[in-house]
Every structure is written in C-alpha cells, then in structure tokens.
C-alpha cells in the first residue's frame, strides 16, 4: 500500500483527532468539536509547513 503524502496526512489526522476528541473532553458535543478542531490543526499545519519548506527550498 502506497498512499500519497497528503492521503497519509489525512488518515493520520482522522485517527489521531478521533482519539484526542474522545479522551480529552467530557461530553459528546465537546468531543466532536475538539476532534474537528484537532483535525483542522493537523491538516492545516501540514499544508502551511509544506508551503514554507517549498518556499525555503526554492
């Protein structure tokens, strides 16, 4: 199995955010919100850092 780098990021963010959401918050509503927050941070930071590295490498 050879997913692309971005697919791997999405899968990683999905699984890690699910566990973070369930374990770090008390109520289901807060779990969902925190899970989405973590997912956006994971994927967003990966995209931002990728662009930073791309611009540094030029």
């Amino acid at each position: 199995m050879s997913p692309s780098h971005f697919t791997a990021v999405l899968l990683f963010a999905l699984f890690a955010s699910t566990v973070f959401g369930i374990t770090q918050r008390e109520t289901p509503r807060k779990m969902v919100r925190y899970g989405i927050y973590c997912f956006v941070l994971f994927v967003g930071s990966a995209i931002v850092l990728s662009w930073v590295m791309f611009l540094i490498a030029r």
Binding site: M1, A8, L11, F15, A16, T18, V19, I22, T23, E26
Partner: protein, 139 residues
C-alpha cells in the same frame, strides 16, 4: 476548652469506583484497544477508539512499516516504547512476523510512524478508561 474533632465529610464514591480491580480497564485497554471502555459499557467510544487504533496499526503494517524488535540507540528505544503501547497487537504482529525489518521505501517510513503513534494513542485511550473507572473523568 478542647476543640471538637473535625468531622470528615462522608463523600460517597460512585458505585462504579468501589467494586472490583480498579486497574482492570487500564490493563484491558492497553492489551486490546477499546476494551477498557467496553468494560464500562461505553460502547460507542470504545468502538471509535478501537477502529482508530486498529486502523492506524493496520495501515502502518500495510505500508510496510517497521516494527521495532530491539533497541540499539535512543531513537530505537523510543520507537520500541511506542510500539509496546499497542499491547497484544504488538505481540501478535511479532509472532506472525508482520512489518518490515528495514525501511526501504518512503511510505514505509510513514508506516513506521503510524505504528508508533497507534501505540501512543492506545496508551492515552487506556488511561482515559482508567480515569473513567476511578471517577476522575465524570462521563
């Protein structure tokens, strides 16, 4: 005049935290992902945790990730500790000879991280089950 002795407020513990072996959810959750929550009838959470950790581990193996068997330097030690967090998944995969011995392709490096992180997430989930059991986490 003697002061009256302090009265210790009788704070009744939750019924769940009184009976049984208090570390059972922690140990069960470590050995089998999600089992700590299943023991406390948190079926939905247990299923999601189990699917996430099993899925991450399986993807790591499918990407030909390395499963640490010995530790020669500090990075290997950290990887081994992370892998051990997978509990029975680690033992079964070692017995079955799953995972690559050396990382040869780029995706195998991702796979190695997936396996380590699955173990670390499993430890977090097991500790959460323990906190539910002791009443430190309310629901």
């Amino acid at each position: 005049m003697a002061t009256p002795p302090n009265r210790v407020a009788a704070t009744p513990l939750a019924p769940q935290s009184q009976a049984g072996f208090v570390y059972l959810p922690l140990i069960a959750g470590w050995l089998v992902p999600g089992a700590g929550h299943f023991l406390q009838r948190k079926w939905g959470r247990g299923a999601l945790l189990s699917a996430s950790i099993f899925g991450m581990f399986a993807l790591g193996v499918a990407m030909q990730g390395k499963i640490y068997a010995s530790a020669k330097d500090i990075l290997d030690i950290l990887g081994l500790v992370g892998d051990l967090g997978n509990g029975l998944l680690y033992i079964v995969s070692r017995v079955l000879g799953l995972g690559a011995d050396t990382v040869q392709v780029t995706t195998a490096d991702y796979g190695t991280r997936f396996i380590v992180v699955a173990g670390l997430l499993n430890v977090i989930a097991a500790v959460d089950a323990h906190n539910l059991r002791t009443g430190r986490k309310i629901s």
